[in-house]
Amino acid sequence: DVKVTQSSRYLVKRTGEKVFLECVQDMDHENMFWYRQDPGLGLRLIYFSYDVKMKEKGDIPEGYSVSREKKERFSLILESASTNQTSMYLCASTSGGLAYNEQFFGPGTRLTVL
């Protein structure tokens, strides 16, 4: 069964802390994504990676960085967390081999920054 897991379901951090969100997929997918989801704004792409050590900015990369050292693992880093980064963070992956490119999502991490 296809699986994308995220390191935490709920996380509470303080302003200025460095935050790591980790995502692991077991489908040998080349492409991985980080989104944030906010009421009224929908899913917004932060970063994506199409191969190990390769990354591209999405629509809202400011304040975030990413790391992909292994194919199955994609990390999102908040260098200095701020209250406006309180959100639901979703990781996804896809093989890219299908024309419609189904993305498989993790369960999400609800991050609160105080």
Binding site: V4, N31, F33, G40, L41, G42, L43, L45, F48, Y50, E56, L90, A92, T94, G96, A99, Y100, N101, E102, Q103, F105, G106, P107, G108
Partner: protein, 114 residues
């Protein structure tokens, strides 16, 4: 104009009602159209996809594409409380480069009341 627009609702219907969820899109080159379903506190999951114009049926769900008006719809017949979720339309961009990305609508929150 945004690439994909979706009425965020919320939509509340009685059990057994026919539900219509809709999105519009701007690029006439789009070929694949997807619907994701997201239950509360979970990641989105692919519900159905269609290619080009026409209808596709899967049980109580029908996805419809009208390319002439750039309009996609998801119909749910005999709606059940278990259909209560957020429904997101998604479209893979066609033109070159990162075809593995998806452009999502903001999602429509549906509640089916027993």
């Amino acid at each position: 104009q945004k690439e994909v627009e979706q009425d965020p609702g919320p939509l509340s219907v009685p059990e057994g009602a026919i539900v219509s969820l809709n999105c519009t899109y701007s690029n006439s080159a789009f070929q694949y159209f997807m619907w994701y379903r997201q239950y509360s506190r979970k990641g989105p999951e692919l519900l159905m996809y269609t290619y080009s114009s026409g209808n596709k049926e899967d049980g109580r769900f029908t996805a419809q594409v009208d390319k002439s008006s750039k309009y996609i719809s998801l119909f749910i017949r005999d709606s059940q409380p278990s259909d209560s979720a957020t429904y997101l339309c998604a479209i893979p961009p066609n033109s070159g480069g990162s075809n593995y990305k998806l452009t999502f609508g903001k999602g429509t929150l549906l509640t089916v009341n027993p």
